[in-house]
Amino acid sequence: MAVGKKDISCPPYVKGREIKAEDIKEGKVTYWEHHPDIRYSFTAGQAISRFLKGLKEGKLLATKCDHCGRIMFPPRMFCELCFRPVDEWCEVKDTGVVETFSVSYIDPDAKPLEEPVIVAVISVDGASPKMGFMHILGEVDPDDVYIGMKVKAVWKSESEREGSVTDIKYWKPLEG
């Protein structure tokens, strides 16, 4: 007998049948719904507060560790490798390179999206290697995206910016 396939005979009172979608709709299967109201207000802290303020001003800010020489983006107040406070703030460019990407056609509720979303991890120019952003790409055909593609941030207008990672609308190909 195959593993997991057992010849079980049911007692006569358990006369089963398959569950249909209507059974669930009609409440024949017992579920209990709970819709919690849990909300948080995360303190951004020293590093991220300044970073978000930078975004509002259209700048990408990073911090530097003099010990290992890394320019860390997004910024933090301490170098996690050297375990010491950072030494200074600096600005990095709003251009970068696609490290990896995905063309996503489905939303979190498993519904088809009207337009696919191209999610990409972007190494930001001026920061140490492999430091950057996960963001989305725009003004590009999904078929034309490739790893290593150079991209540039497309910002919201100054009046629309609010100090959020979405102050950058998306990143578009740098060439043409």
């Binding site: 919690p36 849990i38 909300r39 948080y40 303190t43 020293q46 590093a47 933090r76 301490f78 996690e80």
Partner: protein, 381 residues
């Protein structure tokens, strides 16, 4: 098996709010102080890290992932227990005693001020079908249900709990990191609003932010690192049940975890052998319940002893010299950390203006409403 000692302790806080620091920065601050205190470099010297956090308090799922950077634990053995700091101590003790690590770090923190719907988050600990739909009151009433049953069973009047608040709030005035300390009399407590009758407003510990980090080491290394190792001589933890109809309401979880820790520590007469205790007092009656459960006094003698100052800073067995959670604040999973910290400072002789004379101390924490779970750690000089 090797003995295990606390060789470093650091903390950040404790404050009612910390708008200037993210929880990561809070942890970093505590960690830097602990490593400085121990004289260790986390990148080179520490073999294992244990953090204590509950995802719903944090607002993050799979919180483990967010831990390494701010502890110096990048690319090192790390895990998170979803429990109080004292459970973390128990884990670190096991890791060291089993020989997996020479030096281990334990961390817990609270960024309670980031939680906007505290009552709703507590309700997440309730059975969704059985308990969550009942009534609309803030779940503090769960503590009131327990107090009601406990004080009736023991025949205590409210005076004893009011005295506990008076004592702890006064103790906290000698602790510069106790934001809720104050000059509060037992009468003030009894006159405060009975928001969850029979619990009054001043009997409830308000929330606070903070982080605690301990560095633990095996005996040989501990002696190299410090002249004042504080031995973790016993640990214990225990859970009753999640059902309110079958709970003891007499903190059996604390009694059983204390028995476990006392056995390991070789303590046979806690009332005589323990010199200082920090117990969970996030509701005033909990302190009384825990004093009884930890066998620091007989239940029928407690009201008189509380009244007579036996558990006061100048008394025979000081309890919550730090001011307890009633002064320091409810630090969520870091509650046991604050209690262990106070015991360590007292045993080292570093408690400043609130120093008492102590060789052996006990720290105890409950896993808060709606649980009947908790842990105990015994420390000695």
């Amino acid at each position: 098996m090797t003995r295990v000692a606390v060789v470093g302790a650091g903390y950040s806080g404790f404050n009612s709010n910390t708008p200037d620091l993210s929880w990561k920065e809070l942890m970093y601050e505590a960690a830097v102080r602990a490593y400085e205190d121990a004289g260790v470099d986390p990148r080179k010297d520490v073999d294992a890290f244990v953090t204590c956090a509950e995802d719903f308090w944090e607002g993050f799922a799979i919180f483990d992932e967010f831990v390494p950077d701010q502890l110096g634990a990048v690319l090192k053995p790390t895990f998170t227990v979803d429990a109080d700091f004292l459970y973390g101590i128990a884990n670190a003790v096991m890791i060291i005693k089993s020989g997996l690590a020479d030096i281990a770090v334990v961390e817990a923190h609270s960024k309670a001020s980031d939680i906007l719907t505290f009552g709703e988050v507590i309700k997440f600990a309730f059975d969704p079908i059985w308990l969550r739909p009942i009534g609309k009151a803030h779940p503090y009433y769960f503590a009131a249900l327990e107090k009601s049953a406990y004080m009736t069973a023991r025949g205590y009047s409210d005076d004893v709990f009011a005295k506990v608040v008076e004592k702890n709030k006064a103790n906290g005035r000698l602790n510069s990191d106790a934001p809720y300390a104050g000059k509060v009399t037992a009468d003030d407590v009894l006159r405060s609003e009975a928001v969850f009758y029979p619990i009054r407003k001043l009997e409830i510990a308000q929330r606070a932010d903070g982080a605690i980090v301990f560095v633990l080491a095996r005996e040989e290394i501990a002696r190299e690192l410090t002249d004042t190792p504080i031995w973790v001589s016993g640990v214990g933890w225990w859970s009753e049940t999640s059902n309110y109809d079958t709970m003891s309401f007499t903190a059996a979880y604390a009694r059983k975890s204390a028995e476990m820790a006392y056995k390991m520590a070789g303590i046979t007469n806690p009332a005589r052998q323990i010199d200082v205790a920090e117990v969970d007092d996030r509701f005033a009656f909990k302190e009384v319940q825990h004093i009884e459960a930890l066998k620091l006094a007989k239940s029928n003698e407690i009201p008189e002893l509380v009244e007579g100052g036996y558990f006061g800073r100048g008394g025979d067995l000081p309890v919550n010299v730090s001011g307890g959670s009633l002064s320091v604040g409810n630090l969520l999973e870091a509650t046991g950390g604050q209690k262990a910290l106070e015991v360590v400072l007292q045993l080292r002789g570093e408690a400043g203006r609130r120093q008492v004379d102590a060789e052996v101390g006990v720290a105890q924490a409950w896993r808060y409403i709606p649980t009947a779970s908790g842990a105990v750690a015994v420390f000695s000089r």
